[in-house]
């Protein structure tokens, strides 16, 4: 039998180092991969700009350096932010309920929430469109019928019809489409956060004088703060790049419901890859800036506590 040799594999400290390197390599590797994608995009555009014919360059300029692009950027960021706020408004109590309360048919409820993530985004958008159309048809059926004798046209039920008018091919439709998907993601992360939070803390708060809501607000929510931030980051980042359901429900009307991702898609479908990539880069830079700001804010608030993003 050979004598034991002191190889790195046998040395626990060295082995730990070894694993540490592998783990860090995985993290760096993937982020480097993303960086590579962005750099290659940038290089592609750079090369294009250097070689583009004057006409082609003019088209690029007229489609990128215009007010619409700014409008789309603002609409993308704004709608994602509004959506994230609305999603959290629902996800915080919903995640809490799924984590804490006994609910009849919880498995089904939980799975229905997940279905919003599982369904292809395009199908989510289509389903919303179907729902709103059904509402409108119901509104027509329940409204006043037309009176041909007096020449008075029929009037749909104003309440049912208003949903349709409010959302379809309009800005609120952007938020509705984003909300349907983002909320499911936010619920997931809020539930995980409340699952990880010690419910005894709420029990103690109750005995100390809190109402049920007070215990949720003052004991559960502060503990789930990291989940709140994770939920916000996940919902926001997913939303800001969401394209298919927005396009089908809100349309891609320039200057009105076109957001950055829908415009980028339009450019790709027309073969203008350079414009699409330029818009994508604009989007990536802005989104990363927002995310970094959010994470720095979270880090400062954490002040040694357990928040990590």
């Amino acid at each position: 039998m050979p004598a034991p040799v002191e190889t790195p594999e046998r040395n626990p400290a060295a082995r730990r180092q070894h694993f540490r390197r592998v783990a860090i390599a995985a993290a760096l590797g993937f982020s480097a991969f993303m960086a590579l994608l962005l750099v290659v995009d940038l290089g592609y555009i750079g090369e294009f700009l250097l070689n583009a014919s004057p006409d082609r360059y003019r088209r690029f300029r007229e489609n990128i350096f215009v007010a619409e692009t700014l409008h789309e950027v603002i609409l993308s960021l704004g709608s994602a932010t509004v959506t994230t706020a609305l999603a959290l408004l629902v996800a915080v109590p919903a995640g809490y309920a799924l984590s804490r309360f006994r609910i009849r048919g919880k498995l089904l409820v939980d799975t229905l929430v997940d279905s919003a993530i599982v369904l292809p985004p395009l199908i989510m958008g289509l389903s919303l469109l179907v729902l709103l159309s059904v509402l409108r048809r119901a509104g027509e059926a329940l409204g006043t019928p037309p009176d041909p004798a007096a020449g008075v046209p029929g009037r749909p039920n104003p309440v049912l019809n208003s949903f349709y008018e409010f959302f379809v091919y309009a800005k609120p439709g952007i938020v509705l489409a984003q909300f349907s998907v983002a909320t499911a993601l936010a619920v997931r992360s809020m539930k995980a956060a409340f699952d990880a939070a010690d419910r005894r803390v709420e029990d103690v708060a109750l005995t100390l004088g809190c109402t049920r809501f007070g215990a949720f607000w003052r004991a559960a929510l502060p503990q789930a703060r990291s989940g709140l931030l994770t939920g916000a980051v996940v919902a926001w980042s997913y939303t800001v790049g969401l394209f298919a359901p927005v396009a089908i429900l809100a349309g891609t009307v320039k200057g009105r419901t076109a957001v950055l991702p829908t415009r980028a898609y339009m450019e790709v479908s027309n073969g203008y890859l350079e414009e699409a990539l330029a818009l994508t880069l604009v989007m990536a830079v802005i989104a990363m800036t927002v995310l970094i700001a959010l994470k720095l804010l979270a880090r400062r608030n954490a002040a040694g506590a357990e928040v990590s993003l």
């Binding site: 803390v201 029990d203 003052r218 002040a303």
Partner: protein, 354 residues
């Protein structure tokens, strides 16, 4: 002070069904194996679980349907459940503030509780992270006491602490309870811990209270086999009465092929328990005349020195466990494998009521 009347609570296959009374100022210990329902019972008392039937009253007031905050119950859970996002001061001030006490009064309460527990020096800590187990427990206690509860519930208060500090913490809890005259329920599955703090207690299992009483009574007069075993009475036999013993008011009984003398006049099947510390162990040659006691031949299978006593495992017609003082064991001078005699006077035998 506390009355639980036919309290029922069900969850999945588990059901709790208890009645219990605890007097004002009593230090009551609730014992039982894990899963016995101890925590569930105090959670019902604290209003954290809604019982399906029965009544709960605290300080003469029916609180069965009261909110947890209106019960006058202070609660310190096992892991202390401190508010991890608040400072030590804010943890303690949480109750007074939430109850809307004027800030001067709230400050006074915080200081008072901190002084009582000797943690004034911790008040300015911005976070509870980094406190030791003992410090965390004190903060949790101060937090519960700051709202001046009628009843204090301590769920396994020392099980998270290391062995060496448990005893001093238990003494501290006892002192605190005496000082405040606070009715206290302390959950424990550890006998030493229970005896070091409490006057009275109960043993639970399977959602039922098996026996309530002064701890000495639980120890020496267990009401059933379960309590006897929980109280570490290892010599439990099921025997058949064979008629009156030679002494008056004794009964001769046979169990596991050995003869025992039981107190009182009995017949039929009996179950009885003998505490290991009540066995007398002798060498066969030494044997003095003891007409009033049973003598069971026994071979020393194993002797384990536990410091305070030596635990002897005896083989023979009946398997017996005896606790001898180290000195008595040394005097006996027996090695493992030695033939001995276990002498059991009738007053050492507790007949389990059945």
């Amino acid at each position: 002070m506390i009355r639980l009347e036919s309290l029922r609570y069900e969850v999945a296959a588990f059901s709790l069904e208890v009645s219990l009374e605890i007097a004002r100022g009593e230090y009551f210990v609730l014992m039982g194996p894990p899963g016995a329902g101890k925590s569930v019972m105090v959670e019902c008392l604290a209003g954290l679980r809604a019982p399906s039937a029965g009544r709960i009253s605290v300080a003469g007031r029916d609180v069965t349907d009261a909110e947890p905050r209106d019960r006058g119950v202070g609660y310190v859970p096992q892991d202390y459940a401190l508010f991890t996002t608040r400072s030590v001061r804010d943890n303690i001030a949480f109750g007074p503030q939430i109850r809307g006490l004027p800030s001067g009064e709230a400050d006074r309460r915080v200081r008072e509780a901190a002084v009582l527990l000797g943690i004034e020096h911790l008040l300015e800590r911005p976070r509870v992270q980094g406190l030791s187990g003992g410090e965390r427990q004190r903060v949790a206690l101060a937090r519960a006491l700051a709202v001046r509860p009628h009843v204090l519930i301590l769920d396994e208060p020392v099980s998270a602490l290391d062995e060496s500090t448990r005893e001093s913490v238990c003494a501290e809890l006892r002192r605190l309870q005496r000082e405040l005259g606070l009715t206290t329920i302390h959950i424990s599955h550890n006998l030493e811990e229970a005896f070091s703090v409490a006057d009275r207690g109960a043993v639970m299992s399977g959602g039922r209270i098996r026996q309530v009483g002064p701890l000495g009574e639980l120890l020496r007069r267990p009401a059933g086999e379960f309590v006897a075993r929980f109280m570490r009475c290892e010599n439990i036999f099921l025997g058949a009465c064979r008629g009156a013993g030679r002494m008056p008011a004794t009964t001769l009984a046979e169990a596991s092929g050995a003869q025992f003398l039981l107190p009182g006049e009995r017949r039929g099947q009996v179950q009885f328990a003998i505490r290991p510390e009540n066995l007398i162990v002798e060498l066969p040659g030494d044997r003095r005349e003891r007409t009033g006691a049973a003598a069971v031949p026994a071979r020393l299978a194993r002797a384990v020195d536990r410091g305070a006593y030596v635990r002897l495992e005896l083989d023979g017609p009946a398997r017996l466990v005896a606790h001898l003082s180290p000195r008595a064991f040394a005097d006996l001078g027996a090695a493992e494998g030695a033939e001995l005699v276990a002498v059991i006077p009738p007053e050492a035998v507790h007949v389990i009521p059945g």
